[in-house]
């Protein structure tokens, strides 16, 4: 059974069996506009919670994607490097960024569940 969590920086992380898959939310892709370039970490990279993990660039600007939790990268989504528009079309599906093995499941306690994230986004609009 997987569980999805969110950050106030508009990343999501879906966790199953100690592996988290990370991407950016629909709100984030919409705010960024057409995404034209993605830079991902390398498998094996060690990421720390809140640290820079990836870069996403829209036509107008570059933005950082932060690691929602600490851990070691297990896989990256080459498809979004080849076709950055996937992040716009399927931000919580085929547009995922990378997976990592959680260093400390306790990191998840600081994240939002979907209802809390939706409420947070609503405040922004």
């Amino acid at each position: 059974m997987s569980e999805t969590y969110f950050t106030r920086d508009h990343e999501w992380i879906r966790v199953e069996d100690g592996i988290g898959t990370v991407g950016i939310t629909d709100y984030a892709q919409h705010a960024l506009g057409d995404i034209v370039f993605v830079e991902l970490p390398a498998p094996g990279d060690s990421l720390s919670r809140g640290g820079q993990a990836a870069v996403v660039e829209s036509v107008k600007a570059a933005s950082d994607v932060f690691a929602p939790v600490s851990g070691a990268v297990t896989a990256v989504n080459q498809d979004i490097v080849d076709t950055p528009g996937l992040v716009n079309h399927a931000p919580e599906g085929d547009g995922w960024f990378f997976s990592l093995r959680l260093a400390d499941a306790g990191d998840l306690a600081g994240l939002l569940d979907r209802a809390a994230y939706d409420a947070f986004v609503k405040e922004l609009e």
Binding site: G33, V36, F37, V55, E57, S58, V59, K60
Partner: protein
């Protein structure tokens, strides 16, 4: 005065933009549409394939009257205004005493007056500057809007509403009745495509815009795509690619300096500009194509292979028609030849790039 948020000006098309679902952003003191729901990429591609309608009403429109208007304007710009025939437009520059660029502008010889279009962010300063030379002969036109209709189908669309548009030459200007509205139309633009800029009384602007948007080839295009289109066309953005710290020669705009102006001078900064013209400038504006897909934005440092900085990117991003990153910047003249390999330092990482000829996408202006 209250200490509230900065009040943004709006164009006569403000409510139309909102109705069309535009994302509005502050730009040069105006609330302007950066994109519509289709998004920057689709808007860019639509303009290259069909026809895009841009609201550029934030730009300054100014009329110069007075018997000495031509001589007075020539005292401020290096362009050949004396030789500009009635009904023709010229791109020129306001220069300062050091040879820097105060603004770039379009000048039309409208017969009994000159008609100028200047940048929004510079218009107050430009008007004051013009008044220093022309006094009361300077008449700003705040009650006119400006629309740009750009793209390979722009002429076909406009000719449907105003048949005379079809025959207009590139960089020509005329009064044109479009769907019953008397406009001033020029065959020019800022996208590298064929097209028109249409000056219209503010109170008729929305009617004209809606009429043009009714045509099946036309979609509204925001400032986001305007920027990617002009970048691919290798056209300068004032405040980014040209400013008071760059000269016309460094910027590759020496072609705007008229023949008699080269011989006679008589414009601000003439001594330095003409010396650079003769001896060559210390640096040049160039096109840059990164080898990989990472966009290099403005202020990206340009270095040689050994890490020595030789310049800086002034405009850069993703070129939708090129389908890759494109940039313009200044590099030391010795490293400005097309084909030169350079490095662009993006997020601390040197990335290989190559100097290329501008434009990135060939211009498709109407041939004479």
């Amino acid at each position: 005065m209250s200490a509230g948020p900065i009040e943004l000006a709006t164009t006569p098309l403000d409510s139309l933009h909102r109705q069309l679902g535009a994302r509005m952003v502050p730009f040069a003191g105006y609330s302007m549409p950066v994109q519509y729901p289709d998004g920057v990429l689709a808007e860019h591609r639509h303009t290259r394939a069909a026809a895009g309608l841009f609201d550029v009403s934030h730009m300054g429109q100014v009329i110069l009257r007075g018997a000495d208007r031509v001589g007075a304007l020539e005292s401020l710009v290096p362009g050949d205004i004396r030789g500009l025939p009635v009904g023709r437009i010229r791109y020129t520059l306001f220069t300062n005493g050091e040879g820097g660029i105060l603004d770039d502008l379009m000048v039309t010889n409208a017969g009994d007056h000159l008609f100028l279009v200047v940048n929004a962010a510079c218009k107050e300063a430009d008007i004051a500057h013009l008044r220093s030379a022309l006094g009361d002969a300077v008449r700003p036109l705040p009650d006119r809007a400006l629309l740009a209709l750009q793209g390979p189908l722009a002429a076909q669309v406009l000719a449907r509403l105003a048949p005379e548009a079809a025959e207009m030459a590139f960089m020509s200007w005329r009064r044109l009745e479009v769907a019953g509205i008397v406009c001033w139309a020029s065959r020019s633009g800022y996208t590298g495509e064929d097209g028109f800029e249409i000056s219209v009384p503010a109170d008729l602007a929305e009617r004209l815009a809606r009429r043009l948007l009714d045509e099946p080839e036309v979609k509204p295009i925001g400032l986001g795509a305007r920027d990617t289109l002009r970048l691919e066309a290798g056209l300068c953005l004032y405040g980014a690619d040209i400013d008071t710290a760059t000269t016309p020669v460094e910027a590759g705009l020496a072609w705007t300096i008229g023949k008699h102006r080269r011989a006679e001078g008589g414009f601000p900064g003439a001594a330095g500009i003409l010396r650079q013209l003769a001896e060559g400038p210390p640096r040049r504006r160039v096109g840059l194509r990164p080898d990989d897909r990472a966009p290099a934005r403005a202020h990206t440092v340009i270095t040689l292979a050994d890490g020595r900085p030789v310049g800086e990117v002034t405009s850069g991003g993703f070129g939708p028609t090129v389908d890759g990153p494109v940039a313009m910047g200044y590099v030391e003249a010795a490293h400005a030849a097309p084909g030169t390999a350079l490095l662009l330092v993006v997020r601390g990482q040197p990335r290989p790039a190559r100097v290329v000829d501008l434009p990135f996408v060939p211009h498709r202006y109407r041939k004479a």
